[in-house]
Amino acid sequence: VNVVDEYLGNTSENVTSGRAVGLIRAYLPIVVAAALIALIPLRYQDSRSMMSVITVGVLFACYAVAFNIIFGSTGQLFLCSGALAGIGGYGSAILADRSGWPVPLALVTSTVVAALVAGTLSWIAVRRALDTIFIGIVTIAFALSFENLVLGKGDWTGGESGLRVSTGSDSWLTGQIAPYYVFLGLLVVYLVVFRALQRSRIGWAFRALRDDGLAAELSGVDVSRYRILAGTLGGAMLGLAGGLYVFSESRASPSTFAFGNVDVSVLVMLAFGGIGSLLGPVVGAAAITWLDEFLDAVGYAQIKEMIYGAVMVVLFLGFRRGVVPMVTDLFKRKPK
């Protein structure tokens, strides 16, 4: 963002071309990243298992962008990304399969529900002026309750073994290659939303309240409103991604949305890529997906959990800014 602002300033002699340059500079990274990601299946399209691995990688990039809006932009530690995605996933599966709703309507409804739940959590946090730690605990409590309910309400969710979703199983959402591009499209939309937010007044408010909530409040930024907005939007993005994934997999299972599975990965991805940066979630998701596959390939699958824990410790200890902000800094320093 700072890069954008600097260049916008530099080109003030010609406002219109300056604006165009600014636009290109703002959205070019998304185009480049999308083009690169679009090329990955060329190498893996023959392998069903690899395609599903990289599809999940893109899905997690979507999760991470959504989490980045909530945590990276407004500093609300939501430890329930998996549960919010699960609301989207189980919600649309149950609506479409059991109640016979059309897939798009089921998706939209469950996305709205996820958004409302996340917005409510945000609202509670804002109203009660909860610290980071308490938001974290409330959202962890919510995430674990959701997990327990999914396991306990077996007649609705299929319990441990999950729910088979037959609706939409013959549509363009399933298959070997198509889902990958569906999620890539979703990722691009999410990134554009993120960038557009950053460039708008909202992004300006986000930065102000993240840096110093009190100062932002005092200078007239409606902190509560922007926090709730970020929570609701992030919740909707998580819910939609989770819902789409359930249809592309034709099943919803508890482990797909488990805290230990989704939230931890998303945190590590964001920490690696760079919290608050545009492409951080994408770089992080790519790195962790690669690491995951690499560990499987060299036979370290059993100690994966240990390695992730260690990676997390190392990342938070010595590498807190993440890859993307560091690289951006390198490029920024050059022209000066």
């Binding site: 409330v138 309750s145 230990g260 390695i307 824990g309 997390m312 410790v313």
Partner: protein
């Protein structure tokens, strides 16, 4: 009858919960670290005891080694990784502590899952059930309760009447003030980390007297410790015991009358509701 049994069981369980919560609450009060690896450290202790007993050790020395080992592990974390946390301030400090401990919980869980996936600790206490108010209580749970009450009483005496215990309380209340009267917060912190780890180990050992403690129990114990500490008020030792007993009773009643699956959900909702209604908890100081 069913209600009375649930009540007595609830108190037995609740004392354990209390001891679990105390360990977490102490570290938060003193160092601002939410120890998300608390349950995993307890299980680590339990597995050490199980391995030693498997190697032919008697129960008591094995239990002592396990409990001390859990304490030493947390002490080690205090002296190494947590140093980076103490350099930070405010929200950053809390966030860094929480995330590092989350990472450590995964390291421990991953390790136990890898090396000892089916290991569990069971300590068999012989003897016939003892009827109390007409409810037959197993000797195992009575012994566990006795040990837990003993540990709780020892903690109470320690915090009320010993110099070191008062030192710990003074640091929790006001680190700067404690420093002014000649207390070294850093060594107090190390001591409390050791104490907290040992308490975690003790919970796992006494827990093993009533039910097997499996190597995968870490997450469950951490969640419980967190719930208890939050309901009692983060940083409050007495609050943790009070909350533990209340939640233990709620746990047994919920599981007797509503169903096992909803028990955890109800406990989690208690914690969430407490944060929303009264973030300082039952006995925590208002901030």
């Amino acid at each position: 009858m069913k209600a009375l049994a649930a009540l007595l069981d609830g108190i037995v369980l609740g004392l354990q919960y209390g001891l679990l919560g105390v360990g977490l609450t102490l570290i938060f009060g003193l160092a601002g670290v939410v120890n998300l690896a608390h349950g995993q450290i307890a299980v680590l202790g339990a597995i050490i005891v199980a391995l030693l007993m498997g190697a032919g050790w008697a129960v008591i020395p094995a239990a002592v080694v396990g409990v001390v080992a859990a304490g030493v592990f947390l002490l080690f974390l205090d002296l190494t990784l947590m140093r980076a946390v103490y350099r930070e301030h405010g929200e950053h400090r809390i966030l860094l502590g929480l995330l590092l401990m989350l990472g450590i919980s995964f390291v421990i869980d991953g390790f136990l899952n890898w090396r000892y996936p089916i290991e569990s600790l069971t300590i068999r206490i012989g003897g016939d059930p003892v009827p109390i108010l007409g409810v037959n209580m197993r000797t195992g749970s009575l012994l566990a309760t006795a040990i837990t009450i003993g540990a709780g009483a020892a903690l109470l005496v320690f915090f009320q009447y010993t110099t070191l215990g008062r030192g710990v309380r003074s640091v929790i209340q006001d680190e700067q003030g404690a420093r002014l009267v000649g207390i070294n917060p850093s060594s107090v912190r190390s001591f409390v980390f050791f104490l907290s780890g040992s308490l975690a180990g003790l919970v796992a050992v006494t827990g093993a007297m009533t039910a097997p403690q499996a190597s995968s129990f870490g997450i469950r114990l951490t969640t419980l410790a967190l719930i208890v500490a939050v309901v009692g008020g983060l940083g409050s030792v007495a609050g943790a015991f009070l909350a533990g007993i209340l939640l233990g009773i709620i746990d047994r009643f919920a599981s007797a009358y509503i169903g096992q699956f909803y028990t955890t959900v109800i406990l989690l909702l208690c914690a969430a509701a407490m944060i929303v209604v009264r973030p300082s908890g039952l006995l925590g100081k208002r901030t």
